[in-house]
Structure formats: C-alpha cells, structure tokens
C-alpha cells in the first residue's frame, strides 16, 4: 500500500511519462477531408515554407489530365496549403504540418456563355499566409492551371 501521497504522485508521473514517451501523439487535425474530390497535384514552396495539394472534382480532374487545357462550367478546385515541417525521425524530408489556407475555385458560365471563375480564400493559419504580392487572378491561374500529376492508369 502507498502510505505516503508523494509515492503515489511519483508513481503517477512515472506511468504518465512512460506511456507518453512510447508512442508519438497523433494530430488528426492536420488531415484535410476533401470529400469525393481527387488529388490533381501537389506543390512545394520553399520560399514560403509551405506544401500544398490541389484537389478537384471529376470535371476538374479531367481538365487537368488533358494536355490542351480548356475549362468548363462545373469544375471545382480546392487547394490546401500546409506549413512545412521537418519530418520527425528522418532528417532530410519536409512534410506537411498544420493547415494554413484553403482556396476554392469554381468555374461557372454566365447567361451569355462566358466562362468565369469564383475564388474563395480561407486563411486558417492566422495571418495572411497566401503570398500577399500575388493577385487573385494569379492564384486562380495557378490552381486551375496545374497539370495532373501522372499516376499509373487505373
């Protein structure tokens, strides 16, 4: 029996520190749920220390896989940007840390048949993490202009 409370405290500290050091703490909040959207491509930016994925719905992915890029109404793109961080236990890889920004681009057609783009930026990383020197048109161009990363045929 533990007669002195100090022993109980010490034992507690010991147990906690053991169970803590055994496994790393998983951080599911760093995952992004893209729903049914598929990966179009990824981007590394070492000037801004970010790493990104561009997701798209079916029409967006088909457009990105086509070497002649044409855009049609209904395409939807989401670019998720994470802060880069060094991979724990492997010096020599950077991986995604916390989510900084989510940008959405939707392609629509006006009654006259003209294609237009709507752009929505959600900064989740606190301050403005998407390059302030870059215009919204440039972001739309980047996001809708990335060719799909090549994967084996399915």
């Amino acid at each position: 029996m533990l007669t002195k409370p100090i022993y109980a405290v010490l034992l507690g500290v010991l147990l906690v520190s053991c169970s803590q050091s055994k496994h790393p703490a998983l951080a599911p909040e760093y995952l992004y749920n893209a729903g049914d959207q598929k990966v179009i491509s990824s981007l590394i930016n070492n000037k801004h220390h970010t790493i990104s994925i561009i997701y798209g719905n079916g029409p967006a992915l088909r457009s990105a896989q086509d070497t002649v890029r044409t855009h049609t109404a209904g395409e939807q793109y989401v670019m998720v940007t994470w802060r880069q961080r060094p991979m724990p236990h492997w010096y020599g890889t950077n991986m995604n840390g916390k989510i900084l920004a989510v940008e959405t681009v939707t392609v629509a057609q006006d009654p006259a048949g003209k294609i237009g783009y709507s752009y929505l930026l959600k900064n989740t990383g606190g301050n403005n993490t998407i390059e302030p020197d870059v215009s919204r048109e440039q972001r739309i161009q980047l996001i809708t202009g990335q060719p799909a990363a090549v994967l084996p045929e399915n």
Partner: protein
C-alpha cells in the same frame, strides 16, 4: 524458511570453478574476427572519412580492429555477431555493391541513425567511448549529405503521361495487375483514398503523396497506435521540376509507388507490415527475391519503432 549463506571463501571457489569449467574452455571456441579483402572502398572527403572510420568501421567494413577485451568469450560472441550483422547491412569495403542512388540513401540513413542515437550501437560506445560522435561531427555529416548530387536533382525530362501508346489497353488494371515478389498485388484503389501526408524528400530529389485507406485514416483520427490489421498506406513518388518565379515546385515524372499493408500474422517477419514497391508507369515489381522486404523493414525498424514503423503520420 532460512536462507543458507555461503561464506566468502566458498564464493571465491565457486567463481573459480565456473571460470575453469565454463569461461576458459569457451576461449578455445571463441569466434575469430577476420577481415576479408577489400573489394571497393568508399571514397569520402578526409574529415568525413575520419569520423566514420573511427565510429563505424569496426562493424561496417573489412577493417575491423577489435580490442583485446572484445576477443574474450563470451563478449567475443556478441562482437562477432555485431560485425557479421553490421557488414551484411552495408559494408564500406564493398561499397560499389550498392547502386549510386542506394549509396546516397545509405549515407542519409547513417546521418539519421546517428541523430536518433541508434548508431554506433550503445553497447559498443559503452566500452569504446572514443567512438561517440559529437554534435559538430554530426553537423559536418549533414552538410556532406546535403552536398551529394541527388540533393539538388531536378527532373527536366519531358513528362511521360502513359505506360503505353495512347488508347492502348491498360496494363495495370484487374487480373493483369503486377504482383510483388512477396505476393502483394498492385491496385489503383488508393487514388480514391484520403491523403495522410505530403512530402519533399532530399535524397534523390523527389516529392511524394501518401494515401491511407479508411482503416488507416480512422486509426489516425482515433489516435490508435499501433495501427490495426487492414490498414494500408500507399506512397506515390515523382521527380521535382524547376522552381517557378514565385517558388512553386511541381511534380515531374512518376517514379514509383510504395505500399505498406498491415497484417500482423501474415507479415510477422517484417513487424506486421507487408512491403511492396512498383517502379515506373509499367509498375515493375522491385527486388530480386522476396527478401527485398527485409531491407525495407530494416530502415523503418531502426528509425521509427515508436510509431509502428511508419514515418508519414501527422504528429504534433
């Protein structure tokens, strides 16, 4: 019950008896550490060579220099075992046995083995304190690996988008899917899975997207470690293209996919994970025999045993 006490004299006799009966005869069968001839010695800058020579050569080269106390049984058995095992992992005196990309990967792995205090083996440093590596030496090793050619490799080749001619029947789908030498069949299902990680890897200049199936993602969400049977991880690897004006780097050619499938019974010999790797758009299975998976787990086991041998997990 009263414990019977041995008087000191009896104790000394007992020790001597043990020494005569066990330890001395052991010396006659004690393993002899031999240095086979050098095949192709690694070539390194002088300062780097000196560090590795002092700290690693006893076990990872054909220049093992054992101390007198290493040659006394039973210690000699451990020493011989470590040297034999160390040389099979990689041997500085048979360095060209590794293709150039593997040579670079091994050097990065060495840096990590040192940084994570896995190498030199703790038992060895205890009796050979001079083999320890200082922080300044580790920094020198890091700058050396960062100067290797693979670190700044840029994929400038035209991007190949398909394994066959346009419109040709898919070579990868369904029953014709390639199978790894340990029996893992390629499937493109991961393209519908969630992403668990995105990475920029320094050696070899590549960028990666890591997908997890529902079981894997659910385990991360529930903070469940080790990962349950049925968890699957697929990593797709591309070259890196030139950086654009605003600093963006996009994927170049597709290089390979790497797979880990958790089945604690089936893949018991590799810590419960089934490993597979398929190269190029034609998805050529990696390795020469099914033992290729041992090289996979050896590196994952050395560096990430606490996270169920998985590097790419979101952690705080």
């Amino acid at each position: 019950m009263k414990k019977s006490k041995m008087n000191p004299l009896k104790m000394i006799f007992a020790f001597l008896a043990i020494a005569i009966v066990i330890v001395i005869p052991l010396q006659f069968s004690s393993p002899v550490i031999e240095n086979p001839p050098v095949k192709s010695e690694i070539e390194l800058p002088g300062d780097i060579q000196a560090i590795l020579q002092r700290a690693c050569y006893d076990c990872h080269s054909n220049h093992s220099q054992t101390a007198w106390f290493d040659r006394i049984a039973p210690a000699s058995y451990l020493v011989a075992h470590d040297i034999k095992e160390g040389r099979t992992r990689f041997n500085f005196s048979d360095w060209k046995a590794n293709p150039p990309a593997v040579q670079e990967l091994l050097l990065w792995e060495m840096v990590n083995a040192i940084e994570e205090h896995k190498m030199p083996l703790k038992s060895y440093v205890m009796v050979h304190p001079a083999a320890g590596i200082s922080a300044a030496e580790l920094t020198a090793l890091k700058s050396y690996v960062n100067s290797l050619p693979g670190r700044h490799k840029i994929d400038t080749a035209r991007i190949i988008r398909s394994a066959g001619a346009p419109g040709a029947a898919s070579k990868t789908a369904g029953t014709n899917a390639p199978v790894s030498l340990n029996g893992i069949k390629y499937s493109g299902d991961y393209q519908n899975w969630k992403i668990i990680s995105v990475t920029d890897k320094y050696d070899g200049g590549s960028m990666r997207v890591v997908y997890g199936n529902d079981i894997m993602v659910k385990a991360i969400k529930q903070r469940q470690l080790p990962f349950p049977d049925g968890a699957k991880i697929v990593k797709a690897v591309w070259g890196k293209q030139h950086e654009d004006k605003v600093g963006n780097i996009s994927p170049g050619n597709f290089q390979n996919v790497q797979i880990m499938i958790k089945d604690s019974k089936k893949y018991k010999s590799t810590e419960g994970w089934g490993f597979a790797k398929f190269e190029g758009l034609r998805l050529k299975p990696s390795g020469k025999t099914a033992l290729f998976a041992t090289t996979c787990i050896n590196c994952h086991r050395l560096l990430v045993p606490e996270s169920d041998f998985v590097f790419n997990i979101p952690t705080k």
